[in-house]
Each structure stands twice: as C-alpha cells, then as structure tokens.
C-alpha cells in the first residue's frame, strides 16, 4: 500500500527485507524487482503521491509539488539552475520521457571489468519492455521539432528521431508539469503499482533523516513524515531492514549519507558531481511555432556529439542538441530584460522556436549539506565545457536560421541577435557564469562505482565499500557524465542494485 501524510500521523517502528530511499526511476525499479521476487519492501518518498487529477498543468502549482526548492535550487555560484524532482515516481513525473542507453564508449572509458555494457544490457532490455519504449515518428513532430529537423537537414548535420516511453499521448505538451492524461509509462504508472500489488509498502511525504550504523552494517533508518502543505512534522518512524538501497538521486543520496555520518575515509561522498548543463537559443519565425504544443522533444542533433576519445581538446564533440519548449513562466525566466523590453519579447512567444544545447560535461563539482536539509552544489564550469556550450549556442542559432528564423537570439544578459549566417559567424560567443541562463536536469555520479575504495564509493555490485548492507540504485552510481538523458540508465541501475540485494539477502 501507499501511505501518505493522511495516514502517517503516529510514530511507528517498521521492518522489511529491503528499505529503498526514493521512488523515482531507480527506486521504483528496485522495488518492482524485489517485491516480485517475494521480498518485503518499504519505499520512502520525500514528495507526495499524486495521480493524473493532481497534475493541473499550472506552473505555479506544479513546481513546488514536483521539484526540490520549488524549482529554485541552483549551484553555489547561482550560475546553473538544477531541477530534480520528488513525488511518488520521482523525476519520471516531470521528465520528457527520453529513452537512450549509455553508449558503449562511455562504459569502456570506465574500464570496469564487471560493471559494463554487458552487465547493464539485460536491465535496459527489461526496462524498455516494461515501459513500452518506442520511437516517435515524423507524424508526431510538433512545429518546433519540425523546424529543428528542417534546419538540421538543410545544414547536412546528423540527426534522428528519439525513443520515448509514452502511450496514448494526446500531445498536450505539459510533460514537464506531470501528465494529466497519464500517458507516461513511468515509475508512477507502471513500476510502483506493480510493486505495491506484490506487497511493497510506500511511505510518501516522508523524509529519510539519517541511518544508524553498527559496525559495517546499517541497523536502522530514521524518517520523518511531513505535512506537504505546511512542512510541519507529523510523525517519526524507525525502519529496520536487512538491506538498504539509496535511490534518492545524485543530490539527495550523498546528502543522506553525509547527514548519517557513514564511514567516508577518503572523503569521496558527494564529489564528482556532473550535471549536463544546458543553454538555449531562440529563433523568431514569421509563422507561429507554439513550442508548448505537442511532444516537446522528439528529434535530436548529434552532429556535435561524439563519444570517441579526441586527440586534442579542440577536437572534442560533447554537445547534444534537442528542441526546447516552455510554458509562459519558464519562458519568461529565459527571455531578456524586464518591464517593457521583456513584455515585447513575451508578445512574440508563439513565434519563438527554441533549441537547447546540453554538454556531456567534464567539469566535476561537489554536493554538500547546506543547513539541515539544503544542498550546496559547488560546480563551476571548466573552460573546456564553456567552449563546448559556446559551440552549442552558435550551432543552435545556425540551425534556427537554416530553418527559416528571421532572427536568432542568444539570450545573454545583453542579447545577441543575428539575422544571417554572416552575422552569426562574425559574432563573438562566450559562455561565462551568469551571462546566460544555464539549466541542468541530470545530476549524476556523486556516489560512484569503481575498483578501489580509495577512488570510488561503491564496489562493482553497487555496494558501499564501507557498509555491507548499503547499496546505491540511482544516477549517483555512474562513474562519470553519461552524455545522454539518464532516465533509462536510472531504471537500469535500480534493477542492477536489486540483483545485488537479492544476492546478499
């Protein structure tokens, strides 16, 4: 069953074979696999249990319900907004359903004998089947993606259609605010219900406070149920389990371990943060684009993305481009200026096409506690990633012009506006902190797998080196940036951790 703040009003002591912290992609997949294998499972979720009726397609209502800090979380220097979600289903509630496996060269770069492409392959296959992953065809492209594709093809760039996990999608375009039409085949719709039907218990509105340890084992997890409206504490619970799986995502998982004071002899927890930061360029078209309508991201440009090692830094290609879309408040945040200047931009909104450029980042940051439950994300883009993002902006603008935009705009503090390829080629484009909005939605690799406890947090089974019954089953576990949307890999990691849990129970 799913218990929410409505039921969790009294303190309790609970027991299970496995306790999973987090109900997003990784946590739901682990819960699904373990419950179906007959293990007793308790899943904790900081956010609320929401069903389609709760996704009202209003930004002001959904941001606080779906995102940590209501979507206002940033890196320490405020340069990058970091969006990551909560709610039963985690970030799969607000993501755009993109499904890509980690490319083999990324696995190979880790040089891990056991945690490799072969090990993950069956888990990817299982997830793809469970979630009905299928390719978005040309007939489903919305106007924004159609123009993006036209620009990519006109320039002779490499592009292609994307795979998604959606069914009976009506193309409302509100994916990032949760699906009121329940067309996402995600953790909420597929895996959590199946886990519950197999006996799993989900505690929603419940925060994991800290682990208690005895020797090399976690003996108990202390939790707190909160009123989601007021934040008031309603009850506290203690959970004992044979095995614990952290799956709260690459920000919350290291924070929980840090709050718990678990053994961390090489001070690695929370280091090696990767984010996939992204920027966006806009194009003003004669005819309406209405980028908020239809499936938001269904086509990609991979002309500037290569996973093969490059001999020189300037030869690297680490930019992935997709169409971007936003509803009014999100768009308003990105458009330049304020007052009359901004109002003029907003009036053009239906005519604005948008392309996002995301970097497969080499920058490494850290996650640390900020106050009791806040996150201090110290992440400063290195020069190589800045150069990649500058390339991404230039090429996004080029694609928009090739697609027929009468003007391409790079929304720097002082916007750069170009009307033709000549102006674009002459323009100086640099990415500096706080000159342009940067957004990241893929935090990862903060409690990662490696070959030695001196340079990693987990062994190759996903088990924490210093604790025998603690596993990690989310994006924290990957050793580097993966360069593709992480949804599928988070589910696969949850299944991988479940395999380990079954073996050690």
């Amino acid at each position: 069953m799913i218990f929410t703040h409505r039921q969790l009003t009294a303190n309790r002591e609970l027991q299970a074979d496995v306790c999973i912290v987090g109900s997003g992609a990784g946590g739901s997949a682990a819960a699904y696999a373990l419950a179906r294998a007959g293990r007793s499972v308790i899943v904790l979720e900081r956010g609320s249990f929401m069903t389609p009726k709760d996704f009202d397609q209003r930004e002001e209502n959904m941001f606080p319900k779906l995102f940590y800090d209501a979507g206002g979380r940033t890196t320490r220097n405020r340069a990058i907004r970091v969006l990551h979600g909560h709610g039963v289903g985690g970030s799969t509630l607000h993501n755009i359903n993109l499904c890509k496996r980690i490319p083999d060269p990324v696995f190979n770069s880790w040089q891990l004998p056991r945690f490799n492409a072969d090990a993950l392959r069956p888990h990817y296959a299982q997830v793809e089947k469970l979630l009905g992953v299928s390719r978005i065809g040309p007939e489903r492209l919305n106007e924004n993606n159609r123009r993006f594709k036209a620009g990519v093809e006109k320039l002779g760039y490499r592009g292609g259609f994307l795979d998604h996990n959606r069914k009976d999608c009506v193309g409302s375009g509100f994916c990032e605010l949760g699906c009121a039409f329940d067309a996402k085949l995600n953790a909420l719709r597929v895996l959590i219900p199946e886990a519950v039907r197999n006996g799993a218990t989900v505690l929603a509105d419940t925060r994991a406070l800290h682990f208690e340890t005895t020797g090399r084992r976690i003996s108990r997890l202390v939790t707190q149920t909160l009123n989601p409206e007021t934040g008031a504490q309603l009850s506290t619970h203690g959970i004992t389990a044979k095995t614990f799986i952290c799956a709260g995502g690459a920000v919350e998982t290291p924070l929980l371990l840090q709050r718990s004071g678990v053994a961390n002899p090489y001070n690695l927890i929370g280091s090696r943060l990767h984010l996939h930061p992204g920027v966006a360029a806009l194009g003003e078209f004669e005819q309406p684009v209405r980028s908020w309508q239809g499936i938001p991201q269904s086509y990609e440009c991979t002309e500037f993305l290569s996973f093969a090692p490059a001999a020189r830094a300037e030869d690297e290609k680490r930019i992935w481009m997709i169409a971007g879309s936003a509803h009014p408040a999100g768009a308003a945040s990105m458009l330049p200026g304020f007052g009359d200047e901004h109002a003029t931009w907003m009036e053009k909104l239906p005519h604005l096409g948008c392309i996002s450029a995301m970097v497969h980042d080499s920058t490494r940051g850290t996650v640390a506690r900020k106050g009791e439950f806040g996150a201090d994300l110290n992440y400063v883009l290195n020069s190589a990633d800045r150069a990649q993002l500058a390339t991404g902006l230039r090429e996004a603008a080029r694609i928009l012009l090739a697609a027929g935009a009468r003007e391409a705009v790079i929304p720097f503090v002082t916007p750069l506006r170009v009307r033709n390829m000549g102006e674009l080629d002459r323009a100086k484009i640099e990415v500096n902190d706080l000159d342009i909005d940067l957004v990241a939605v893929h935090p990862m690799s903060t409690v990662w797998i490696g070959r030695s406890p001196k340079d990693s947090c987990l062994d190759e089974t996903g088990r924490y080196w210093q604790l025998d019954n603690l596993l990690v089953g989310d994006m924290s576990a990957y050793p580097s940036s993966i360069g593709v949307p992480p949804q599928l890999s988070a589910y696969a990691m949850g299944l991988y951790a479940a395999e380990t849990a079954k073996a050690i129970l």
Binding site: G72, K370, G371
Partner: protein
C-alpha cells in the same frame, strides 16, 4: 524663513551636551518614524506568514518594476504567492533570500547613487537600480535573476496575462479528473 543670523544664534546657544541630546533624540525619532512608516506601508499589503512587512514591501516594489503591474490588489496577491514560495524553501535558503531583500532595499545608496531606499524611489529609479543589478558585477546578477524569476513565476501564471502573449492555458479544467485514468490508481493508497 529663518535667516543665517538666526541659525548661528541658535547654534551658539546649543551647548555640547544639548547637541548630543538633540542628535540622539533625532536619530531615535527618524529610525522610529521610518520603521513606523515602513510598517504602515507594508501593512497595506497585509500580513504574511514568512515575510515581514518590510520584506513584503521590497518584493512588491521589485514586482511592480519588473512586471509593470499597477493594480494594488494584484500586487497583494503576488506577494501572498511569493510568501508561500519562500515558506517552501529550506531554512538556509530562506535566510539568504531575506538577506537579499535587505540588500536590495539598501542598494540605491550603496551601489546606484540614490539617496533613499529602494522602496522609496520612483519607478524609473527602481528600474535603473534593477538594471544595475543585471549589468553590474557578476556576483550581483543572481539577485536580479531571483527577483525576476519569482515575479514572472506569478505574473505569467495568471490567466489574465495569457491572451496578450497568445498562450491558451491548460487543457484541463481546474478540479477536473478523468475517472478512467484515476481508476488505475484506485486501491493503492491505504485508507485513513
């Protein structure tokens, strides 16, 4: 009009002790009157759970400058929304946000060459200050971004502003539900 002669006579009669006493009294009076004035003006916005009257007043001034909203009731509702937003931040971030508001209030004198607080400036002068936050040293830009993002998060989620920007709004009516979709989730949540 008092003459210079009157003034010098008055000054000559002022002993050091009396000067100190008058200065102290004036200082207390000015601080008290400013606080009372600020409270009186802040109170026009109503009481809030997370924001003080002064903080609400700074936010209201920024909101009006950024969105050009002129209706007092609309501004009040905006600040009420922002108050709820601030309440959802973790304690440390909430503290930082409030410190930011205090800095904005004092910023005209500190950074922009105005004799007065942000809330006491004309709309043009406030816009000049915000432009300074936007274009100034890098560390100042997050202040501008925070005020802008929060302002527009409210302003552009109000249906009355959607027609002008050609946005049709949600496809689902408030409070509506599709029973056949909800059925999938029936029985999952425990009974109270």
């Amino acid at each position: 009009m008092p003459s210079a002669q009157d003034s010098s006579r008055w000054t000559a009669n002022l002993s050091r002790r009396r000067f100190l006493r008058w200065t102290a009294l004036l200082g207390v009076a000015s601080v008290t009157s400013w606080r009372l004035l600020a409270r009186a003006q802040g109170d026009e916005l109503g009481a809030f759970e997370n924001l003080s009257a002064n903080q609400a007043k700074v936010l209201a001034a920024a909101y009006q400058t950024i969105t050009l909203e002129s209706k007092p009731e609309a501004v009040r509702e905006a600040i009420r929304f922002m108050d709820g937003f601030v309440g959802r931040l973790d304690g440390r971030t909430r503290f930082e946000f409030k410190a930011l508001l205090a800095l904005v209030e004092q910023s005209p004198l500190l950074f922009h060459g105005y004799l007065g607080r942000f809330t006491s400036l004309s709309p043009q002068a406030r816009a000049h200050c915000l432009t300074g936050w936007r274009n100034g040293a890098t560390w100042r830009r997050p202040v501008y971004s925070a005020l802008k993002d929060l302002s527009y998060l409210y302003y552009y989620t109000r249906p009355e502003h959607w027609t002008r920007i050609g946005y049709p709004g949600p496809l689902v009516a408030p409070g509506s539900a599709f029973p056949q979709l909800e059925q999938r989730y029936q029985g999952l949540e425990a009974r109270s």
